[in-house]
Protein backbone atom coordinates (compact mmCIF):
# COMPACT_ATOMS: atom_id res chain seq x y z
CA UNK A 1 0.00 0.00 0.00
CA UNK A 2 2.89 2.40 0.35
CA UNK A 3 3.54 2.61 -3.36
CA UNK A 4 3.32 6.20 -4.48
CA UNK A 5 0.29 7.10 -6.48
CA UNK A 6 -0.13 10.07 -8.76
CA UNK A 7 -3.89 10.09 -8.99
CA UNK A 8 -6.42 9.45 -6.25
CA UNK A 9 -9.92 8.69 -7.41
CA UNK A 10 -12.60 9.52 -4.87
CA UNK A 11 -16.06 8.08 -5.45
CA UNK A 12 -18.72 9.26 -3.00
CA UNK A 13 -21.37 6.60 -2.53
CA UNK A 14 -24.63 8.16 -1.45
CA UNK A 15 -28.25 7.29 -2.00
CA UNK A 16 -28.05 7.14 -5.74
CA UNK A 17 -25.94 4.21 -6.95
CA UNK A 18 -25.94 1.95 -9.96
CA UNK A 19 -24.44 -1.52 -10.20
CA UNK A 20 -21.09 -0.65 -8.65
CA UNK A 21 -19.15 -3.63 -10.01
CA UNK A 22 -20.14 -2.85 -13.57
CA UNK A 23 -19.60 0.87 -13.05
CA UNK A 24 -16.15 0.39 -11.59
CA UNK A 25 -15.14 -1.94 -14.39
CA UNK A 26 -15.93 0.90 -16.79
CA UNK A 27 -13.98 3.45 -14.75
CA UNK A 28 -11.06 1.07 -14.36
CA UNK A 29 -10.63 0.79 -18.11
CA UNK A 30 -10.61 4.56 -18.47
CA UNK A 31 -8.18 5.04 -15.56
CA UNK A 32 -5.75 2.52 -16.99
CA UNK A 33 -5.92 4.38 -20.28
CA UNK A 34 -4.84 7.62 -18.61
CA UNK A 35 -1.54 6.04 -17.73
CA UNK A 36 -0.99 7.49 -14.25
CA UNK A 37 -0.57 5.32 -11.20
CA UNK A 38 -3.78 5.57 -9.26
CA UNK A 39 -5.78 4.44 -6.27
CA UNK A 40 -9.53 4.40 -5.84
CA UNK A 41 -11.27 5.36 -2.65
CA UNK A 42 -14.95 4.64 -2.24
CA UNK A 43 -16.48 6.69 0.55
CA UNK A 44 -19.79 5.29 1.76
CA UNK A 45 -22.09 7.62 3.61
CA UNK A 46 -23.83 6.31 6.72
CA UNK A 47 -26.35 3.56 6.15
CA UNK A 48 -25.30 2.24 2.75
CA UNK A 49 -25.27 -1.45 3.78
CA UNK A 50 -25.86 -2.95 0.35
CA UNK A 51 -23.36 -0.72 -1.37
CA UNK A 52 -20.79 -1.53 1.29
CA UNK A 53 -21.04 -5.28 0.82
CA UNK A 54 -20.86 -4.86 -2.96
CA UNK A 55 -17.77 -2.69 -2.54
CA UNK A 56 -16.11 -5.22 -0.27
CA UNK A 57 -16.24 -7.71 -3.10
CA UNK A 58 -14.68 -5.20 -5.49
CA UNK A 59 -11.96 -4.31 -2.99
CA UNK A 60 -11.20 -7.99 -2.32
CA UNK A 61 -10.47 -8.52 -5.99
CA UNK A 62 -8.49 -5.31 -6.51
CA UNK A 63 -5.71 -3.96 -4.33
CA UNK A 64 -6.02 -0.45 -5.71
CA UNK A 65 -9.46 -0.04 -4.16
CA UNK A 66 -10.05 1.03 -0.59
CA UNK A 67 -13.29 1.80 1.18
CA UNK A 68 -14.08 4.42 3.79
CA UNK A 69 -17.38 4.09 5.55
CA UNK A 70 -18.84 6.88 7.61
CA UNK A 71 -20.60 6.05 10.85
CA UNK A 72 -23.73 8.03 10.12
CA UNK A 73 -25.32 10.10 7.44
CA UNK A 74 -23.28 13.21 6.77
CA UNK A 75 -24.07 14.30 3.22
CA UNK A 76 -21.95 14.66 0.12
CA UNK A 77 -19.63 17.46 1.25
CA UNK A 78 -18.42 15.53 4.28
CA UNK A 79 -18.19 12.31 2.27
CA UNK A 80 -15.96 14.05 -0.25
CA UNK A 81 -13.79 15.62 2.44
CA UNK A 82 -13.32 12.21 4.06
CA UNK A 83 -12.17 10.90 0.70
CA UNK A 84 -9.78 13.84 0.18
CA UNK A 85 -8.26 13.17 3.59
CA UNK A 86 -7.47 9.59 2.58
CA UNK A 87 -6.17 10.49 -0.85
CA UNK A 88 -2.41 10.16 -1.33
CA UNK A 89 -2.02 11.36 -4.89
CA UNK A 90 -1.12 14.86 -5.99
CA UNK A 91 -4.11 14.81 -8.29
CA UNK A 92 -7.59 14.05 -7.09
CA UNK A 93 -10.39 12.90 -9.36
CA UNK A 94 -13.94 12.67 -8.13
CA UNK A 95 -16.38 10.42 -9.97
CA UNK A 96 -20.08 9.83 -9.38
CA UNK A 97 -21.24 6.47 -8.08
CA UNK A 98 -23.74 6.11 -10.88
CA UNK A 99 -23.65 6.20 -14.65
CA UNK A 100 -23.39 9.91 -15.30
CA UNK A 101 -20.70 10.12 -17.96
CA UNK A 102 -19.05 7.79 -20.41
CA UNK A 103 -15.84 6.68 -18.68
CA UNK A 104 -13.68 7.11 -21.78
CA UNK A 105 -14.22 10.88 -21.83
CA UNK A 106 -12.62 11.29 -18.37
CA UNK A 107 -9.26 11.53 -20.10
CA UNK A 108 -10.36 14.90 -21.51
CA UNK A 109 -9.98 16.40 -18.04
CA UNK A 110 -6.43 15.15 -17.65
CA UNK A 111 -5.37 16.92 -20.81
CA UNK A 112 -6.85 20.20 -19.62
CA UNK A 113 -5.26 20.17 -16.20
CA UNK A 114 -1.94 21.43 -17.55
CA UNK A 115 -3.47 24.86 -17.99
CA UNK A 116 -5.62 25.03 -14.89
CA UNK A 117 -5.91 23.85 -11.29
CA UNK A 118 -9.39 22.42 -11.43
CA UNK A 119 -11.08 20.82 -14.42
CA UNK A 120 -14.79 20.18 -14.08
CA UNK A 121 -16.84 18.03 -16.38
CA UNK A 122 -19.74 19.33 -18.36
CA UNK A 123 -22.10 16.76 -19.78
CA UNK A 124 -22.39 17.76 -23.40
CA UNK A 125 -24.31 17.10 -25.56
CA UNK A 126 -27.01 16.79 -23.00
CA UNK A 127 -30.06 14.56 -23.03
CA UNK A 128 -33.25 15.53 -21.27
CA UNK A 129 -36.41 17.50 -21.89
CA UNK A 130 -36.93 21.18 -22.32
CA UNK A 131 -38.12 21.64 -18.76
CA UNK A 132 -34.95 20.04 -17.41
CA UNK A 133 -32.83 22.28 -19.57
CA UNK A 134 -34.70 25.36 -18.43
CA UNK A 135 -34.37 24.41 -14.78
CA UNK A 136 -30.66 23.90 -15.23
CA UNK A 137 -30.20 27.12 -17.19
CA UNK A 138 -32.02 29.23 -14.61
CA UNK A 139 -29.95 27.76 -11.77
CA UNK A 140 -26.69 28.60 -13.51
CA UNK A 141 -28.00 31.97 -14.64
CA UNK A 142 -28.89 32.92 -11.08
CA UNK A 143 -25.46 31.79 -9.95
CA UNK A 144 -23.83 33.86 -12.64
CA UNK A 145 -25.88 36.88 -11.64
CA UNK A 146 -24.73 36.59 -8.04
CA UNK A 147 -21.19 35.31 -8.35
CA UNK A 148 -20.29 36.68 -11.75
CA UNK A 149 -18.99 33.34 -12.98
CA UNK A 150 -20.42 31.27 -15.78
CA UNK A 151 -20.75 27.54 -15.23
CA UNK A 152 -22.92 25.19 -17.20
CA UNK A 153 -23.05 21.98 -15.24
CA UNK A 154 -22.27 22.14 -11.54
CA UNK A 155 -24.26 18.94 -11.07
CA UNK A 156 -21.62 16.90 -12.84
CA UNK A 157 -19.65 14.82 -10.36
CA UNK A 158 -16.55 14.45 -12.54
CA UNK A 159 -13.89 16.82 -11.30
CA UNK A 160 -10.12 16.61 -11.47
CA UNK A 161 -7.92 18.94 -9.47
CA UNK A 162 -4.61 19.48 -7.81
CA UNK A 163 -4.24 18.47 -4.22
CA UNK A 164 -3.41 21.95 -2.91
CA UNK A 165 -6.99 23.09 -3.48
CA UNK A 166 -8.34 20.82 -0.78
CA UNK A 167 -5.76 22.16 1.63
CA UNK A 168 -7.37 25.58 1.37
CA UNK A 169 -11.04 24.87 0.93
CA UNK A 170 -13.14 23.18 3.54
CA UNK A 171 -16.39 21.82 2.19
CA UNK A 172 -19.41 21.73 4.43
CA UNK A 173 -23.17 21.68 4.12
CA UNK A 174 -24.20 21.61 0.50
CA UNK A 175 -21.13 23.37 -0.79
CA UNK A 176 -19.66 20.49 -2.77
CA UNK A 177 -21.76 21.70 -5.66
CA UNK A 178 -20.07 25.10 -5.51
CA UNK A 179 -16.55 23.77 -5.14
CA UNK A 180 -15.49 25.45 -8.42
CA UNK A 181 -16.86 28.82 -7.29
CA UNK A 182 -15.02 28.61 -3.98
CA UNK A 183 -11.83 27.45 -5.68
CA UNK A 184 -12.00 30.31 -8.12
CA UNK A 185 -12.38 32.73 -5.24
CA UNK A 186 -9.18 31.35 -3.72
CA UNK A 187 -7.39 32.21 -6.93
CA UNK A 188 -7.34 28.78 -8.56
CA UNK A 189 -7.95 28.50 -12.27
CA UNK A 190 -11.09 26.58 -13.10
CA UNK A 191 -12.02 25.23 -16.49
CA UNK A 192 -15.02 23.35 -17.81
CA UNK A 193 -14.40 20.37 -20.03
CA UNK A 194 -16.98 18.67 -22.21
CA UNK A 195 -17.57 15.04 -21.30
CA UNK A 196 -19.93 12.63 -22.93
CA UNK A 197 -23.08 11.94 -21.02
CA UNK A 198 -23.88 8.32 -20.29
CA UNK A 199 -27.08 7.13 -21.94
CA UNK A 200 -28.08 5.68 -18.57
CA UNK A 201 -27.80 9.07 -16.89
CA UNK A 202 -31.40 9.98 -16.55
CA UNK A 203 -33.09 12.08 -14.01
CA UNK A 204 -34.78 9.95 -11.39
CA UNK A 205 -37.50 11.08 -9.09
CA UNK A 206 -38.45 14.69 -9.12
CA UNK A 207 -37.38 17.86 -7.46
CA UNK A 208 -39.74 18.96 -4.76
CA UNK A 209 -40.24 22.51 -3.68
CA UNK A 210 -37.91 21.87 -0.77
CA UNK A 211 -35.09 21.02 -3.15
CA UNK A 212 -35.58 24.26 -5.02
CA UNK A 213 -35.51 26.20 -1.77
CA UNK A 214 -32.32 24.46 -0.72
CA UNK A 215 -30.63 25.30 -4.02
CA UNK A 216 -31.72 28.90 -3.72
CA UNK A 217 -30.39 29.19 -0.18
CA UNK A 218 -27.14 27.54 -1.28
CA UNK A 219 -26.68 30.11 -4.00
CA UNK A 220 -27.36 32.95 -1.59
CA UNK A 221 -24.88 31.51 0.93
CA UNK A 222 -22.18 31.15 -1.67
CA UNK A 223 -22.93 34.64 -2.96
CA UNK A 224 -22.53 36.02 0.53
CA UNK A 225 -19.33 34.05 1.09
CA UNK A 226 -17.81 35.17 -2.17
CA UNK A 227 -18.79 38.79 -2.16
CA UNK A 228 -19.28 40.01 1.37
CA UNK A 229 -17.38 37.86 3.82
CA UNK A 230 -15.09 40.71 4.67
CA UNK A 231 -17.72 43.42 4.38
CA UNK A 232 -20.97 42.26 5.92
CA UNK A 233 -22.27 45.80 6.31
CA UNK A 234 -22.22 46.29 2.56
CA UNK A 235 -24.72 43.47 2.26
CA UNK A 236 -26.82 44.10 5.34
CA UNK A 237 -26.64 47.81 4.69
CA UNK A 238 -28.16 47.33 1.26
CA UNK A 239 -31.12 45.35 2.58
CA UNK A 240 -31.45 47.54 5.66
CA UNK A 241 -31.41 50.85 3.86
CA UNK A 242 -33.94 49.55 1.35
CA UNK A 243 -36.36 48.64 4.14
CA UNK A 244 -35.79 51.87 6.05
CA UNK A 245 -36.10 53.99 2.94
CA UNK A 246 -39.42 52.37 2.12
CA UNK A 247 -40.61 52.90 5.69
CA UNK A 248 -39.41 56.48 5.72
CA UNK A 249 -41.31 57.25 2.53
CA UNK A 250 -44.53 55.87 4.01
CA UNK A 251 -44.13 57.74 7.28
CA UNK A 252 -43.14 60.99 5.57
CA UNK A 253 -46.14 60.82 3.26
CA UNK A 254 -48.42 60.43 6.25
CA UNK A 255 -46.72 63.26 8.15
CA UNK A 256 -46.95 65.58 5.15
CA UNK A 257 -50.60 64.74 4.71
CA UNK A 258 -51.14 65.56 8.37
CA UNK A 259 -49.26 68.87 8.16
CA UNK A 260 -50.59 70.17 4.86
CA UNK A 261 -54.00 68.64 4.53
CA UNK A 262 -54.95 68.13 8.14
CA UNK A 263 -55.58 64.41 7.77
CA UNK A 264 -55.42 62.60 11.09
CA UNK A 265 -52.14 60.75 11.66
CA UNK A 266 -52.68 58.90 14.88
CA UNK A 267 -55.22 56.33 13.77
CA UNK A 268 -53.94 55.43 10.29
CA UNK A 269 -52.83 51.80 9.99
CA UNK A 270 -50.29 52.76 7.31
CA UNK A 271 -48.32 54.44 10.08
CA UNK A 272 -47.72 51.02 11.62
CA UNK A 273 -46.53 49.63 8.32
CA UNK A 274 -44.14 52.53 7.81
CA UNK A 275 -42.63 52.37 11.26
CA UNK A 276 -42.38 48.60 11.10
CA UNK A 277 -40.29 48.86 7.94
CA UNK A 278 -38.13 51.56 9.50
CA UNK A 279 -37.54 49.48 12.59
CA UNK A 280 -36.74 46.41 10.50
CA UNK A 281 -34.26 48.37 8.41
CA UNK A 282 -32.41 49.71 11.44
CA UNK A 283 -32.23 46.25 12.98
CA UNK A 284 -30.80 44.74 9.82
CA UNK A 285 -28.26 47.54 9.73
CA UNK A 286 -27.31 46.86 13.33
CA UNK A 287 -26.79 43.19 12.48
CA UNK A 288 -24.41 44.29 9.74
CA UNK A 289 -22.48 46.39 12.25
CA UNK A 290 -22.11 43.38 14.54
CA UNK A 291 -20.88 41.44 11.53
CA UNK A 292 -18.27 44.12 10.90
CA UNK A 293 -17.12 43.87 14.49
CA UNK A 294 -16.78 40.10 14.16
CA UNK A 295 -14.69 40.50 11.02
CA UNK A 296 -12.54 43.22 12.56
CA UNK A 297 -11.80 41.28 15.71
CA UNK A 298 -10.95 38.15 13.75
CA UNK A 299 -9.26 39.71 10.76
CA UNK A 300 -5.85 38.85 12.16
CA UNK A 301 -6.46 35.14 11.76
CA UNK A 302 -8.13 35.32 8.36
CA UNK A 303 -5.77 36.08 5.54
CA UNK A 304 -7.51 37.70 2.64
CA UNK A 305 -4.84 36.92 0.11
CA UNK A 306 -3.04 33.80 -1.04
CA UNK A 307 0.61 34.11 -1.95
CA UNK A 308 1.68 32.12 -4.98
CA UNK A 309 5.38 32.77 -4.74
CA UNK A 310 7.97 34.88 -2.97
CA UNK A 311 11.15 35.58 -4.84
CA UNK A 312 14.40 37.03 -3.58
CA UNK A 313 18.05 36.23 -4.00
CA UNK A 314 19.54 34.46 -1.03
CA UNK A 315 22.06 36.68 0.63
CA UNK A 316 24.53 36.01 3.38
CA UNK A 317 22.44 37.36 6.25
CA UNK A 318 19.90 34.69 5.45
CA UNK A 319 16.96 36.98 5.91
CA UNK A 320 16.10 37.11 2.27
CA UNK A 321 14.31 33.82 2.04
CA UNK A 322 11.07 35.47 2.98
CA UNK A 323 9.42 32.80 5.03
CA UNK A 324 5.79 32.99 5.91
CA UNK A 325 5.20 36.18 7.85
CA UNK A 326 2.51 34.58 9.98
Amino acid sequence: MNKTVQLSVVIPVLKRTDDLAELYAGYEGALEAIGLSYETIFVVDGGGENAFSELKQIAAANDKVSIVRLAKFFGESVVLSAGFDQARGDLILTLPAYNQVEPESIVNLVETLDACDLAIGRRWPRAGGAFEAMRRKSFHFLLKLLSGEQYNDLGCGVRLFKRKITDEIQLYGDQHRFFPVLANRQGFKVQEVDVKQSPKDEFRGRYRLREYLHRLLDIVTVFFLVRFTKKPLRFFGMVGSLASALGAVVVLTLVIQRMLFGMALADRPALLLGSLLLVLGVQIFALGLIGELIIFTHAGSMKEYTVAEIFSVEHSSGSGSGGDGD
Binding site: G237, V279, L289, L293, F296, F311, S312
Partner: protein, 321 residues
Protein backbone atom coordinates in the same frame (compact mmCIF):
# COMPACT_ATOMS: atom_id res chain seq x y z
CA UNK B 1 16.68 51.38 12.02
CA UNK B 2 15.64 49.02 9.25
CA UNK B 3 13.25 50.30 6.61
CA UNK B 4 10.76 48.24 4.59
CA UNK B 5 9.27 49.77 1.48
CA UNK B 6 6.06 48.06 0.37
CA UNK B 7 4.87 48.63 -3.19
CA UNK B 8 1.71 46.94 -4.49
CA UNK B 9 1.85 46.38 -8.25
CA UNK B 10 -1.01 45.56 -10.54
CA UNK B 11 -0.36 45.43 -14.29
CA UNK B 12 2.57 47.83 -14.02
CA UNK B 13 4.99 46.31 -16.51
CA UNK B 14 5.94 49.75 -17.88
CA UNK B 15 6.65 51.29 -14.49
CA UNK B 16 8.17 48.50 -12.46
CA UNK B 17 11.78 49.04 -13.54
CA UNK B 18 11.51 52.83 -13.29
CA UNK B 19 9.94 52.42 -9.87
CA UNK B 20 12.81 50.27 -8.69
CA UNK B 21 15.39 52.77 -10.03
CA UNK B 22 13.60 55.67 -8.39
CA UNK B 23 13.54 53.95 -5.00
CA UNK B 24 17.17 52.92 -5.40
CA UNK B 25 18.41 56.40 -6.16
CA UNK B 26 16.23 57.97 -3.46
CA UNK B 27 17.59 55.56 -0.87
CA UNK B 28 21.22 55.97 -1.90
CA UNK B 29 21.26 59.45 -0.41
CA UNK B 30 19.80 58.24 2.85
CA UNK B 31 21.88 56.17 5.21
CA UNK B 32 19.50 53.48 6.29
CA UNK B 33 19.43 49.81 5.58
CA UNK B 34 16.30 48.94 3.73
CA UNK B 35 14.38 46.27 1.88
CA UNK B 36 11.88 46.65 -0.91
CA UNK B 37 8.81 44.45 -1.15
CA UNK B 38 7.09 44.39 -4.49
CA UNK B 39 3.68 42.76 -4.11
CA UNK B 40 2.35 41.66 -7.46
CA UNK B 41 -1.42 41.65 -7.07
CA UNK B 42 -2.15 38.99 -9.67
CA UNK B 43 -1.11 41.05 -12.69
CA UNK B 44 -2.03 39.71 -16.10
CA UNK B 45 0.96 41.29 -17.83
CA UNK B 46 4.67 40.69 -17.33
CA UNK B 47 4.95 42.64 -14.07
CA UNK B 48 6.06 39.63 -12.04
CA UNK B 49 8.64 38.41 -14.56
CA UNK B 50 10.18 41.87 -14.80
CA UNK B 51 10.19 42.31 -11.04
CA UNK B 52 11.86 38.94 -10.61
CA UNK B 53 14.60 39.93 -13.04
CA UNK B 54 15.19 43.05 -10.94
CA UNK B 55 15.30 40.99 -7.77
CA UNK B 56 18.00 38.73 -9.17
CA UNK B 57 20.38 41.68 -9.16
CA UNK B 58 19.18 43.37 -6.00
CA UNK B 59 19.46 41.52 -2.69
CA UNK B 60 17.31 44.20 -1.07
CA UNK B 61 14.32 43.41 -3.25
CA UNK B 62 11.78 40.74 -2.51
CA UNK B 63 8.93 40.04 -4.87
CA UNK B 64 5.68 38.52 -3.65
CA UNK B 65 3.14 37.24 -6.10
CA UNK B 66 -0.54 36.69 -5.38
CA UNK B 67 -2.38 33.83 -6.92
CA UNK B 68 -5.00 36.18 -8.30
CA UNK B 69 -6.01 39.82 -8.10
CA UNK B 70 -7.16 40.66 -4.59
CA UNK B 71 -7.06 44.46 -4.51
CA UNK B 72 -4.85 47.13 -3.08
CA UNK B 73 -5.52 46.66 0.62
CA UNK B 74 -4.70 42.92 0.66
CA UNK B 75 -1.56 43.68 -1.36
CA UNK B 76 -0.45 46.22 1.23
CA UNK B 77 -1.45 43.89 4.06
CA UNK B 78 0.71 41.12 2.58
CA UNK B 79 3.65 43.49 2.24
CA UNK B 80 3.22 44.66 5.80
CA UNK B 81 2.91 41.09 7.10
CA UNK B 82 6.12 40.05 5.37
CA UNK B 83 8.08 43.22 6.09
CA UNK B 84 10.98 42.84 8.49
CA UNK B 85 11.73 46.50 9.10
CA UNK B 86 11.06 48.64 12.17
CA UNK B 87 9.59 51.23 9.86
CA UNK B 88 7.28 50.39 7.00
CA UNK B 89 6.67 52.73 4.09
CA UNK B 90 3.87 52.02 1.63
CA UNK B 91 3.54 53.63 -1.77
CA UNK B 92 1.78 53.22 -5.12
CA UNK B 93 3.52 51.31 -7.87
CA UNK B 94 2.48 53.65 -10.66
CA UNK B 95 5.19 56.33 -10.21
CA UNK B 96 2.68 58.90 -9.02
CA UNK B 97 4.31 58.92 -5.61
CA UNK B 98 7.92 60.03 -5.45
CA UNK B 99 10.35 57.88 -3.43
CA UNK B 100 12.38 61.02 -2.65
CA UNK B 101 9.68 61.86 -0.10
CA UNK B 102 10.42 58.74 1.93
CA UNK B 103 13.26 60.51 3.71
CA UNK B 104 11.02 63.32 4.88
CA UNK B 105 8.35 60.91 6.09
CA UNK B 106 10.81 58.79 8.01
CA UNK B 107 12.35 61.84 9.64
CA UNK B 108 8.92 62.71 10.98
CA UNK B 109 8.61 59.24 12.45
CA UNK B 110 11.93 59.90 14.18
CA UNK B 111 10.35 62.92 15.80
CA UNK B 112 7.95 60.59 17.54
CA UNK B 113 4.94 60.20 15.31
CA UNK B 114 3.54 56.72 14.83
CA UNK B 115 2.08 57.30 11.41
CA UNK B 116 3.09 59.86 8.82
CA UNK B 117 0.65 60.38 5.99
CA UNK B 118 1.49 61.91 2.65
CA UNK B 119 -0.56 64.84 1.41
CA UNK B 120 -0.57 65.30 -2.36
CA UNK B 121 -0.92 69.06 -2.10
CA UNK B 122 -0.59 69.65 -5.84
CA UNK B 123 -2.36 66.56 -6.99
CA UNK B 124 -1.98 65.75 -10.66
CA UNK B 125 -5.30 64.16 -11.41
CA UNK B 126 -8.50 65.10 -13.13
CA UNK B 127 -10.44 67.67 -11.15
CA UNK B 128 -14.01 66.53 -11.63
CA UNK B 129 -13.67 62.77 -11.57
CA UNK B 130 -10.90 62.37 -9.01
CA UNK B 131 -10.10 65.45 -6.98
CA UNK B 132 -13.55 66.73 -6.07
CA UNK B 133 -15.00 63.35 -5.00
CA UNK B 134 -11.92 62.71 -2.93
CA UNK B 135 -12.14 66.17 -1.31
CA UNK B 136 -15.71 65.43 -0.25
CA UNK B 137 -14.77 61.95 0.95
CA UNK B 138 -11.84 63.30 2.96
CA UNK B 139 -14.02 65.93 4.57
CA UNK B 140 -16.66 63.37 5.59
CA UNK B 141 -14.05 60.89 6.81
CA UNK B 142 -12.39 63.60 8.87
CA UNK B 143 -15.69 64.74 10.40
CA UNK B 144 -16.86 61.26 11.32
CA UNK B 145 -13.65 59.65 12.50
CA UNK B 146 -12.35 62.77 14.17
CA UNK B 147 -8.97 62.40 12.46
CA UNK B 148 -8.86 65.37 10.07
CA UNK B 149 -6.57 64.18 7.32
CA UNK B 150 -6.59 66.13 4.11
CA UNK B 151 -5.68 63.23 1.87
CA UNK B 152 -6.75 59.76 2.96
CA UNK B 153 -6.29 58.38 -0.52
CA UNK B 154 -2.54 58.94 -0.68
CA UNK B 155 -0.74 55.62 -0.53
CA UNK B 156 2.57 57.12 0.48
CA UNK B 157 2.61 56.60 4.21
CA UNK B 158 5.16 55.64 6.82
CA UNK B 159 4.38 53.60 9.92
CA UNK B 160 6.08 52.23 12.92
CA UNK B 161 5.98 48.50 12.31
CA UNK B 162 4.64 47.66 15.75
CA UNK B 163 1.69 50.01 15.23
CA UNK B 164 0.68 48.99 11.72
CA UNK B 165 1.18 45.28 12.33
CA UNK B 166 -1.39 45.45 15.10
CA UNK B 167 -4.07 47.06 12.97
CA UNK B 168 -6.24 44.56 11.08
CA UNK B 169 -6.12 45.42 7.39
CA UNK B 170 -8.71 43.96 5.08
CA UNK B 171 -11.09 44.89 2.30
CA UNK B 172 -10.74 48.60 1.50
CA UNK B 173 -9.61 49.51 4.97
CA UNK B 174 -6.30 51.06 3.94
CA UNK B 175 -8.19 54.29 3.45
CA UNK B 176 -8.99 54.36 7.15
CA UNK B 177 -5.66 53.35 8.64
CA UNK B 178 -5.14 56.72 10.34
CA UNK B 179 -8.60 56.51 11.85
CA UNK B 180 -8.00 52.94 12.95
CA UNK B 181 -4.68 53.92 14.38
CA UNK B 182 -6.35 56.60 16.43
CA UNK B 183 -7.96 53.65 18.24
CA UNK B 184 -4.73 53.32 20.05
CA UNK B 185 -4.21 57.03 20.27
CA UNK B 186 -1.40 56.88 17.76
CA UNK B 187 0.09 60.20 16.80
CA UNK B 188 -0.50 60.99 13.17
CA UNK B 189 1.36 63.62 11.15
CA UNK B 190 0.57 64.80 7.66
CA UNK B 191 3.40 65.83 5.36
CA UNK B 192 3.31 67.41 1.93
CA UNK B 193 4.57 65.06 -0.75
CA UNK B 194 5.22 65.38 -4.46
CA UNK B 195 2.73 63.95 -6.85
CA UNK B 196 3.28 63.19 -10.52
CA UNK B 197 0.81 62.76 -13.29
CA UNK B 198 0.38 59.20 -14.48
CA UNK B 199 3.00 58.26 -17.02
CA UNK B 200 1.65 54.91 -18.05
CA UNK B 201 -1.72 53.30 -18.26
CA UNK B 202 -4.99 54.04 -16.66
CA UNK B 203 -5.66 54.68 -13.04
CA UNK B 204 -6.33 51.26 -11.60
CA UNK B 205 -7.68 51.96 -8.19
CA UNK B 206 -10.45 54.53 -8.40
CA UNK B 207 -12.00 56.20 -5.45
CA UNK B 208 -14.64 53.50 -5.29
CA UNK B 209 -18.28 54.13 -5.03
CA UNK B 210 -19.76 56.51 -2.55
CA UNK B 211 -21.89 53.78 -1.00
CA UNK B 212 -18.86 51.67 -0.17
CA UNK B 213 -16.99 54.55 1.42
CA UNK B 214 -19.99 55.57 3.48
CA UNK B 215 -20.68 52.04 4.68
CA UNK B 216 -17.01 51.41 5.47
CA UNK B 217 -16.94 54.68 7.32
CA UNK B 218 -19.85 53.62 9.47
CA UNK B 219 -18.06 50.34 10.25
CA UNK B 220 -14.88 52.16 11.16
CA UNK B 221 -16.82 54.58 13.30
CA UNK B 222 -18.47 51.67 15.10
CA UNK B 223 -15.16 49.91 15.57
CA UNK B 224 -13.40 53.02 16.77
CA UNK B 225 -16.18 54.24 19.05
CA UNK B 226 -16.84 50.82 20.40
CA UNK B 227 -13.32 50.06 21.39
CA UNK B 228 -13.18 52.48 24.28
CA UNK B 229 -16.81 52.54 25.36
CA UNK B 230 -18.63 49.26 25.00
CA UNK B 231 -22.42 49.42 24.67
CA UNK B 232 -22.36 53.22 24.76
CA UNK B 233 -22.24 53.57 20.98
CA UNK B 234 -25.21 51.30 20.43
CA UNK B 235 -27.09 52.98 23.27
CA UNK B 236 -26.36 56.30 21.61
CA UNK B 237 -27.76 54.94 18.36
CA UNK B 238 -30.89 53.81 20.14
CA UNK B 239 -31.59 57.17 21.79
CA UNK B 240 -33.41 58.84 18.87
CA UNK B 241 -35.68 55.83 18.57
CA UNK B 242 -36.34 55.86 22.30
CA UNK B 243 -37.30 59.50 21.94
CA UNK B 244 -39.75 58.74 19.12
CA UNK B 245 -41.19 55.89 21.14
CA UNK B 246 -41.77 58.02 24.23
CA UNK B 247 -43.29 60.80 22.12
CA UNK B 248 -45.73 58.41 20.42
CA UNK B 249 -46.78 56.77 23.66
CA UNK B 250 -47.24 60.09 25.45
CA UNK B 251 -49.30 61.40 22.52
CA UNK B 252 -51.58 58.37 22.56
CA UNK B 253 -52.05 58.61 26.33
CA UNK B 254 -53.02 62.27 25.88
CA UNK B 255 -55.55 61.26 23.21
CA UNK B 256 -56.96 58.66 25.52
CA UNK B 257 -57.33 61.01 28.48
CA UNK B 258 -59.03 63.49 26.16
CA UNK B 259 -61.68 60.80 25.71
CA UNK B 260 -61.09 60.02 22.03
CA UNK B 261 -60.32 56.33 22.54
CA UNK B 262 -56.88 54.81 22.07
CA UNK B 263 -55.20 55.47 18.68
CA UNK B 264 -53.88 51.98 18.03
CA UNK B 265 -51.45 52.76 15.15
CA UNK B 266 -49.78 55.55 17.10
CA UNK B 267 -49.45 53.50 20.27
CA UNK B 268 -48.23 50.58 18.19
CA UNK B 269 -45.59 52.76 16.59
CA UNK B 270 -44.47 53.79 20.04
CA UNK B 271 -44.12 50.17 21.12
CA UNK B 272 -42.26 49.29 17.93
CA UNK B 273 -39.66 52.00 18.33
CA UNK B 274 -39.38 51.22 22.02
CA UNK B 275 -38.57 47.61 21.22
CA UNK B 276 -36.08 48.75 18.59
CA UNK B 277 -34.11 50.74 21.11
CA UNK B 278 -34.06 47.80 23.49
CA UNK B 279 -32.85 45.48 20.73
CA UNK B 280 -30.14 47.97 19.80
CA UNK B 281 -28.87 48.14 23.35
CA UNK B 282 -28.85 44.34 23.49
CA UNK B 283 -26.92 44.36 20.22
CA UNK B 284 -24.38 46.45 22.07
CA UNK B 285 -24.08 43.72 24.69
CA UNK B 286 -23.62 41.16 21.92
CA UNK B 287 -20.96 43.31 20.32
CA UNK B 288 -19.06 43.43 23.57
CA UNK B 289 -19.10 39.64 23.61
CA UNK B 290 -17.66 39.67 20.10
CA UNK B 291 -14.84 41.90 21.26
CA UNK B 292 -14.11 39.64 24.20
CA UNK B 293 -13.75 36.58 22.00
CA UNK B 294 -11.86 38.34 19.23
CA UNK B 295 -8.12 38.31 18.80
CA UNK B 296 -7.51 42.05 18.63
CA UNK B 297 -5.98 42.99 21.92
CA UNK B 298 -6.62 46.65 22.50
CA UNK B 299 -4.61 46.73 25.68
CA UNK B 300 -1.52 45.82 23.65
CA UNK B 301 -2.22 48.69 21.30
CA UNK B 302 -2.71 51.08 24.19
CA UNK B 303 0.52 50.03 25.89
CA UNK B 304 2.37 50.46 22.64
CA UNK B 305 1.21 53.99 22.30
CA UNK B 306 2.09 54.93 25.79
CA UNK B 307 5.65 53.84 25.34
CA UNK B 308 6.07 55.66 22.06
CA UNK B 309 4.42 58.87 23.18
CA UNK B 310 6.53 58.99 26.31
CA UNK B 311 9.64 59.39 24.25
CA UNK B 312 8.37 62.35 22.39
CA UNK B 313 6.34 64.47 24.69
CA UNK B 314 8.31 67.54 23.62
CA UNK B 315 7.80 67.46 19.88
CA UNK B 316 4.06 67.78 20.10
CA UNK B 317 3.91 71.27 18.64
CA UNK B 318 5.79 70.26 15.54
CA UNK B 319 2.99 70.23 13.06
CA UNK B 320 3.77 69.27 9.54
CA UNK B 321 2.72 71.16 6.41
Amino acid sequence: MFLSIVVPLYNEEESVAAMHDAIDSAMSGFERTYEILFVDDGSRDRTFELARELAKNDPNLRVVRFRRNYGQTPAMAAGIDLAQGDVIVTMDGDLQNDPRDIQNLVEHLDKGYDIVVGWRHNRQDKLITRKIPSMIANWIIGKITGVPIKDNGCSLKAYRANVIKNIPLYSDMHRFIPAMASLAGSRVAEVKVRHHARQFGESKYGLGRIYKVLVDLLSVKTIVSFSNRPILWFTLLSLPFLFISVACIVASILEMTAGNGMPVPLAGTGVLFGSLSIVLILNGALAELVYKTGDVDFSILARLTMSTSDQVASSDSDNAS
